[in-house]
Symmetry: C2
Subunit: 484 residues, 2 copies
Amino acid sequence: MEKVREIAREGRRVAKEDPRRVVHSFKVGLVLALVSSFYYYQPLYDSFGVNAMWAVMTVVVVFEFSVGATLGKGLNRVAATLFAGGLGIGAHHLASMSGPTGEPIILAIFVFVQAALSTFVRFFPRVKARYDYSLLIFILTFALISVSGFREEQVVMLTHKRISTVIIGGLSCVLISIFVCPVWAGQDLHSLLASNFEKLSFFLLDFGDKYCEVVENDDTKEVDKRKKDFDNYKSVLNSKSNEESLANFAKWEPGHGQFRFRHPWKQYLAVGELIRQCAYRIHALNSYLNADNKVSIDIKKKLGEPLRRMSLESGKAMKEMSISLKTMTKPSSSDLHVQNAKSACKSLTNLLNSGILKEVEPLELVSLLTAISLLIDIINLTEKILESLHELASAAKFKNKIEQPLFSEKPKAKSFVSLRSIKCHDEHVVTIIEDDGNNHDTSKNDNRSKEVSIHEKHEDGDTHVHARCVSCGHSSVCDVVECR
Amino acid sequence: MEKVREIAREGRRVAKEDPRRVVHSFKVGLVLALVSSFYYYQPLYDSFGVNAMWAVMTVVVVFEFSVGATLGKGLNRVAATLFAGGLGIGAHHLASMSGPTGEPIILAIFVFVQAALSTFVRFFPRVKARYDYSLLIFILTFALISVSGFREEQVVMLTHKRISTVIIGGLSCVLISIFVCPVWAGQDLHSLLASNFEKLSFFLLDFGDKYCEVVENDDTKEVDKRKKDFDNYKSVLNSKSNEESLANFAKWEPGHGQFRFRHPWKQYLAVGELIRQCAYRIHALNSYLNADNKVSIDIKKKLGEPLRRMSLESGKAMKEMSISLKTMTKPSSSDLHVQNAKSACKSLTNLLNSGILKEVEPLELVSLLTAISLLIDIINLTEKILESLHELASAAKFKNKIEQPLFSEKPKAKSFVSLRSIKCHDEHVVTIIEDDGNNHDTSKNDNRSKEVSIHEKHEDGDTHVHARCVSCGHSSVCDVVECR
């Protein structure tokens, strides 16, 4: 009894987690009941006979959760059945020419060769990734057609019936899955990516305050919620296989909603990979938050301002990117947040260079500097992610955004260092600078008033933010800031 | 033509990578040709009729690469067919009581309810992991039996034939897969783990020298080989899904070779997870090797001795563990290497504490200390891995090792600090110390001559190596060494 109740609870949980699962179950039941009507009604049974079971089988095997998976499997199955059916008839024809004694032997050889060859081809990595199911059905259909052809005289008729029932079964699945409450793998992938952005942003928005031990909101409910949000990033660590299969399915899907037929799903994987790289670092950073009390409050206070700004601004950039993906608009203000984060990096390095570390104990140093190095790494990755998202935005033709940036610390104009650098051939830097009039500790940044200027790199008077990234095979975190 | 040649090349590569693939393909062809003989020979055909096709289908779908996967699928399929067959007959009986008009309607309702319910249950995570295939076959068989039962009068006879052909098909697969060149998933998992250990050891054995820029072997061929070995660790990063599916299959396998039926495969996953955690850190460490030239040779030279020893000793520990797993003997000398690595850690921290960092630039510091912190982290993980391997060794009843440790820098006795600490309830430390007489810079370690002593923790005069590990939810890397 307790067991039954437990199963019921689990059922409710599974349904609540994604209500589309319940709908999907109903859809499968519906199609199956529909297709089995082939058996019930005399006219249909007369034309297909026992072969109607192939329609039932096709439905059970092909009907998947998302449209893309169903379409992919359905097309694979139909194509493989057609092809194997044709070959099977050919094999049967060849074998029948060798008389009643030779026929079974030749057929057995055909089946052996075909099965062995196809099984071997299934080991090819490229084939395995996309056409594994096709080959399975190919082996199956060929064996069934060529072998049962040996018994039943009208092989062509048999094959024809088998193929048409498979097509009918596949078609019912595809139509129901597209037109009754469709579940689009593409849409799911899109949402997954947006929510991954959001999860990282939750961490980063809070990290700075937590690390520097700024007193928290007293409302325990709020604190609990934020604690949960804070740890949410962990699910990003293992999202790879999920993303890959969704992208694989999405390729089969026709245009739907905001997505065209050839939506750049591959670019989603590239962005997703970078997000995951960032999550790995966040995971490492998190351990410094939870376990390490070695770094004294004193030094944390001294470095607190730029540290918190680094974390906050990269969090904001992530949040913006999440919104940009959700609304399918170009990520406009993220560049600004990334630049703010980098200017905070610069302030931090200036502080470090100012000899503040002289009196820090070596063990504190290891902890502190590793955390800083990870945070810098995260900011560099944020920039890379943004670049990748820009590529996605232009490939997927995202709209331009009209509204103001989501976050504005002080209302409206003249509150941000808006510093957008576009590297041209790694030689020139186009810097668009809006006056800030706001002290961001970027003391060396002396450009003032709205202007668009083109500097020769290494020849302008600016301190150059010259960031490269560990994980991507480029150079390391540590040569982040070069000051002249 | 070029395409054909390319495919042939790919085929050769796939076959060379694992020759068992070719054997497997032959096995599938063989079983399929065998089972299709049901059709060819009159006596067999007479008893099974068209239902013989179920045997063919079962072979195609059930025959997998490893014994475990085949057994798992075969048992799942047979059990689901039996169960669904029974229910199908019941449903048919119930429906037939309601007269010729009601029968199809009631059957359709049954099929609908059964399919919807089973499809929903497939979403349960625990069911999905182990019984997904069972449920698929359950839906399929129930629909086929209850629906085709509507046509054919002798439902019980039909079900009986269907079940026996499925059993025959499944049994042939299982027998051939066990007795003709078996591929054991368990053996594969075992070898995978051993090779993962080896890959990490290649990196660690070389890392110290590379980081400290000690001049390399001039033989370019040798250098190339070592370069390749060095980068091999990358394949460990993504071994998770492979390990999990192998462990899943291995559970189904009967005892074979050195493995009993209930070999602790779960513990393999635990060890594998720790190895992967270590690989993540090695990946991060590697980036400091390739891209970062900021740390001056000068400081590297000063810290070189302990750094190289840390990397070398942890590499040796890994190598030992790999051999221990391969030979299924208890990892004896790994403890010693881990302790050597930890004593090198201690020397390093002493050096750091001695004020050697005073004149280092902050940017160098970030790079240097992050690398050190990662290396310390790796050593702590090595210890955790060793613990986990000890657990595996005792659960799997590994033999005791008789031979000498694999590595001995200087031949035989009196060359190592053999310092084995066994923590008892986190309070007492049993330290078994053999005299070394060898300067390892562990200047504070004053215990001499062979002895077995029990120290109250925090009360002996020794410097305590007090290591905890980031990744495992314990405290951080940085409070690695506490000196008094």
